[in-house]
Amino acid sequence: MRTSFARLVTTGLLALGVLAPRLAHAARSQAELVDILKKVDDRQKNSGDWRSIAYLEQKEKGKVDTVYDTEFYRRSEDQKFMIIFTAPKSSAGQGYLRLDKNLWFYDPSVGKWERRTERERIGGTNSRRSDFDESRLAEEYDPKDEGEETLGHFHAIKLYLTGKPGLDLAFPAIRLWVDKETMNVLKRQEYALSGRLLRTAYYPKWKKIYSESKKGDVWYPEEIRFYDEVEKENSTLILIKSVDPRPLPPNLFTKAWLESKSR
């Protein structure tokens, strides 16, 4: 019930315009479309270190809601990434660490590291590591223009992205709604290889923070709502708080550091 209501509120703000007639626009060239993706990526790119706190809430049909407090860290330079769970108590100390293109999971209750796939559902929620990572749409996808749409009071550029050949991507196709004014992503739909819609994400709130490493503003979604399109009643909410783009200690992205933090 709460899931449906939350979805209604989100879509009330954004999705009314889906039914609105497409706005008239001049056809964009491929270079322009790639440029749009680059802008989307650049706004979120930090070019340095990143630390923030994320709150994850997973709703699944017939199950008790699961809620996690996490701290996540990333370093653009070598694409290092780390998430540590701080709450609830049963999950506190667990963490993911990405090193040399391998994602590792640590569970302090057994004191062991396990290698996981890049597509791992973080904490069993419908969020993936890539949802917390920097956007690399221009690197990974080829865009196709699908016109413009109004999402609530936003004018959005609608793009259909297909994965570049040779890349192993979690979602081979994505439909993207980008705010024409700010170039922030408003809505994103991810498809399976079979063409079936798997997940819809809404980005209703964007915030910016000044980054010394970038020498400019970095935009990040303060709230992301994922709706499972296969199991219609499942959803995940991510709230990102306390963002800090200042440099992190060099020894942070190590198994030893995560283990020590887990104690």
Binding site: N102, L103, R115, T117, R119, A170, E190, A192, R196, V230
Partner: protein, 438 residues
């Protein structure tokens, strides 16, 4: 009349003379034999049911599976160029009855109302007569599984997912390269559950599985080798032979680990290699997570029989002591008229061996009859036990070999129990024995 026949006649007459004692001891020996046969039958029945269920649902007697790793951390249960593997199998395993290839996977299965994580077996139903003959179809038609985009699930899964024959399901899983994918299937058959293994197994045509995981036509999940009945007990030897042959044929083969393939994902993902590695397993390895039931039953049988045998042995020894005491003067007389010590020993031994043989035969007949009646009665077992026994009714596997073993084993124990008292009897001095009163 030969000497041996005379010995037998004397032993038999002695047994008849002491009717109460013979009946009491013989009855105890018969009861232990019957119990041994029933307990062994239970253990064998569970083992046979396990083999049948396991070899129908998830494993051959011997399997060549393995993992393909696109990256070091991404393992998929895939055997590439499986036809080359089948060639090696045909050359190496003359005990083979037939061979099948199956796809292996793990997917989220979603209906309109619910979802469940299930194993996915990719199957070519036309080549699996055993599968068709063992599964009990509750509704639908198993032959429709030959059509692409179809699925066979078990009654407990149908209940959880709220589906019936004709309803649609979506299988959702990442491909071997980690790309999310789905296939929509139609339920064409619902089978009766077969215990623990059918809890998390479902079946789709192999082509549908290949479409879901984006596998090439020459890739499969596992090559399952079904052996001729007399070779089933030699699976470990055959697996070792096959392992060497596959290595000689240029394949990388994993070290033998007695675990089901899905239990190896963690260790395989931790290892730093990419490409293909084959893994040869036996049916026992693939269901190692439930063979503790067999071990527990075996141990229970051993402990019970040991305790009972101890009681019987003490009873026999005690009875023999009494018999020797009662017949001391008779022994003295026999020795005085020329009977050798060995002959006295033989006489008492023969008596107890004969008692043991008669008792075990009666027990074996009774045990076999009871087992046969229980099998015919199709006694239902509690649902909790069904998961472990993999059957909804009690089944006892009583075979001629186990009956013969019970007869020989218990007769020998009876003979051994009588050895010491018989030896003491044979060592009595004739003068002392003849003057014995009591």
């Amino acid at each position: 009349m030969s000497k041996l026949a005379i010995d037998f006649a004397i032993a038999f007459r002695n047994l008849l003379q002491h009717t109460r004692r013979t009946l009491f001891l013989g009855g105890a020996i018969a009861a232990v034999t019957m119990l041994l046969i029933l307990l062994t039958g239970l253990s064998t029945g569970v083992r046979e049911t396990m083999i049948e269920s396991a070899t129908t649902l998830s494993t051959g007697h011997v399997n060549v599976g393995g993992f393909f790793k696109v990256t070091a951390g991404q393992a998929a249960p895939v055997v590439t160029e499986y036809e080359k593997v089948v060639d090696v199998v045909r050359r190496t395993v003359p005990e083979m009855d037939y061979v099948v290839e199956r796809g292996r996977g793990w997917a989220k299965v979603v209906s309109d109302t619910a979802s469940e994580q299930l194993g996915v077996g990719g199957i070519d139903i036309k080549n699996e007569p055993h599968f068709k003959s063992v599964l009990k179809i509750v509704s639908g038609n198993i032959d429709d599984l030959a059509q692409p985009g179809t699925a066979l699930i078990f009654d407990n899964q149908a209940e959880k997912l709220g589906v019936k024959v004709g309803d649609a399901l979506t299988y959702s899983a990442p491909t071997t390269r980690g790309t999310n994918n789905t296939v929509d299937v139609r339920v064409v058959a619902i089978a009766k559950g077969m215990g623990l293994l059918s809890m998390w197994n479902s079946f789709v045509p192999i082509e549908t599985l290949r479409a879901l995981y984006q596998l090439r036509p020459d890739a499969t999940g596992v090559v399952q080798i079904m052996l001729k009945p007399d070779a089933v007990d030699h699976v470990n030897e055959i697996a070792a032979r096959l392992r060497s042959s596959l290595e000689r044929a240029g394949n990388r083969v994993m070290d033998p680990v007695p675990q089901a393939f899905w239990m190896k994902f963690q260790s395989v993902s931790r290892e730093d290699w990419t490409g293909q590695k084959l893994d040869v397993t036996t049916w026992e390895d693939e269901i190692s997570f439930i063979t503790w039931v067999l071990d527990a039953l075996r141990w229970l049988t051993r402990v019970l029989i040991t305790i009972l045998m101890c009681i019987v042995a003490i009873g026999i020894m005690n009875t023999m002591w009494i018999a020797i005491r009662e017949r001391t003067r008779e022994i003295g007389t026999l020795r005085a008229i020329g009977m050798q010590r060995g002959a006295v020993l033989w006489m008492f031994m023969l008596e107890s061996l004969m008692l043991g043989l008669f008792g075990t035969i009666v027990g074996a007949v009774a045990g076999t009859l009871i087992a046969s009646l229980l099998n015919k009665a199709h006694l239902p077992v509690a649902q909790g036990l069904q998961f472990i026994l993999m059957s909804d009714h009690l089944r006892l596997g009583v075979h001629a070999t186990s009956v013969a073993f019970a007869i020989v084993f218990i007769t020998c124990v009876t003979g051994l129990a009588a050895l010491y008292p018989s030896r003491r009897a044979s060592r009595l001095e004739p003068v002392v024995a003849m003057s014995h009163f009591g």
